[in-house]
């Protein structure tokens, strides 16, 4: 029996700031579509060609897309629970005019600050030419005092 070791993916691969792919935007569109009653799914478009009811354009990062998708998924499931509750009370699902559905707001996602990239070794060397004094905080303070 062969044992195959599968290494951990480096933490540097994690990029929640990545711009969402077309696929993720389409997923948002499908979830929004599912939440809206038919009357609100009119294929009217903005000047840039996007559908007027589609909010996915406001999503800027994958993390934000994920947060919005979670809200939409929960809302779709809640809508089904409402339908079940109505059915249990003997109420028809579509009694009366369809209520206007407001899509949830695209959530704001605060991401941890991006870790500063370490300068390449060669660059660091150049920053401190040979013979130059060390630029420690202490050395800087001493230099200021002298001035």
């Amino acid at each position: 029996m062969a044992i195959i070791k599968v290494p951990k993916t480096p933490a540097s691969a994690f990029n929640p700031r990545r711009t969402p792919s077309d696929l993720i935007r389409q997923q948002i569109k499908h979830l929004e579509w599912a939440l809206l009653p038919a009357a609100q799914r009119q294929p009217t478009r903005r000047k840039d060609g996007t559908l007027t009811w589609f909010k996915g354009g406001a999503v800027k990062t994958e993390a934000q897309a994920a947060a919005y998708i979670a809200v939409l998924t929960a809302r779709v499931q809640d809508a089904y629970a409402d339908y079940q509750a109505r059915a249990a009370r003997g109420l028809p699902r579509d009694a009366g005019p369809a209520p206007v559905v407001r899509l949830p707001k695209v959530p704001t996602v605060t991401l941890a600050p991006r870790p500063r990239a370490k300068a390449p070794k060669a660059a660091r060397k150049r920053a401190r030419p040979s013979g130059a004094k060390k630029t420690t905080r202490k050395a800087v303070k001493t230099a200021r005092r002298r001035r």
Partner: protein
Amino acid sequence: MPVGLDKLKHIVVLMMENRSFDHMLGGLRALDSRIDGLTGTEFNLDTNGGQAPATPDAKFQSQLDPDPNHHFAAVDVQIFDGDLSPTRQATMGGFVKSYFEQRRDVKHSKKIMFHFAPEKLPVLTTLAREFAVFNGWFSSIPGPTLCNRAFAHYGSSFGHVDMNVFYPNTIFKSVYQRLDAAGKKAKIYFFDFQSSTMEIVNLLQHQPQFFGSFDQFQRDCVAGTLPDYSFIEPNYSDHNGSGGEALLASDQHPDHDVREGERFIASVYNSLQANPALWESTALLIVYDEHGGIYDHVPPPPCTPDGAVAQPGQTGTGKPFFFDRLGVRVPAILVSPWVAKGTVVPGPNDANPRIFEHASIPKTVTDFFVDPNFADRSPREKAAETFTDLISLDVMRTDTPVFQLG
């Protein structure tokens, strides 16, 4: 009936994202000449007329950015090299030209030809060599994700070749609804609420009982309560989990790190293998939805038309599409301890070829769990190949590999 097939109680399908056969498994030809991968002589011409060879230089991340175009019109260019004449031949010669259009950078456009050396993908290549790898599994449509995934759920995309909502008034039932009606159990396990389900929101809307999370999949594996049929969706985005932990996308869609997808495949395999009763009664199919615009050398073959026509406005090529040709080839591997080690399912370049596509999934699942004579299916599904015959051993293997996740 072989003992293995007699024991089969569960079929699990894991569908990954946007990688071609040659990109992931093409390097295996050097290790096993029966695998229809790359010989090292394949190339496309770049926009300057220079050769762009298929070389093992693929990187896990940050190489295919921007995401290669894989909408219908772009895939048409990739397959036919821009030839729109009635007598055109599929040459697989337009991948570099198609990718060039996105960044107008000749050097960058050649990266679409790169593939992974087998040792860089220890999980996928091990499974391919240990179990059954398909030389001829093609995406259902030369187009993007959602219409292709529709074939895995419904056996049809109902005339769509794009990413639009396809499910109003679907005329064929999804495989989940068919199993449900037959008293069987089926579930779609999406990764988590932030990743959710990709294409069958109509089922989420009206039949949420079909859905569960990947955590639940793992719990069901431990408890031995896996349904008859499971469809697993990977994590589609980099996001933080409920405890603030970093959850990397595992779908392998460019520009997500391919290594996390490897780990996800291994975790699905491990979950099944860890429960001996489940392991001996389960077949796991790992397949990719489409090629994502990345090079493959095998021209997609013609197929049974699906009875629909996509109009020129939908295809973007100026021509209609009659659903009479498959999309680009994708990696597909069938895993079971009852599959003979080193099985290579012949494809279009082999003797006795067998052509599979995503409609093979509902076809196989419906035939096996519901009724082989189930009539209410698309023409494509009716004509599709099934794969349960590959579960052919009478003695269960005990030499299957184990993945140790770091």
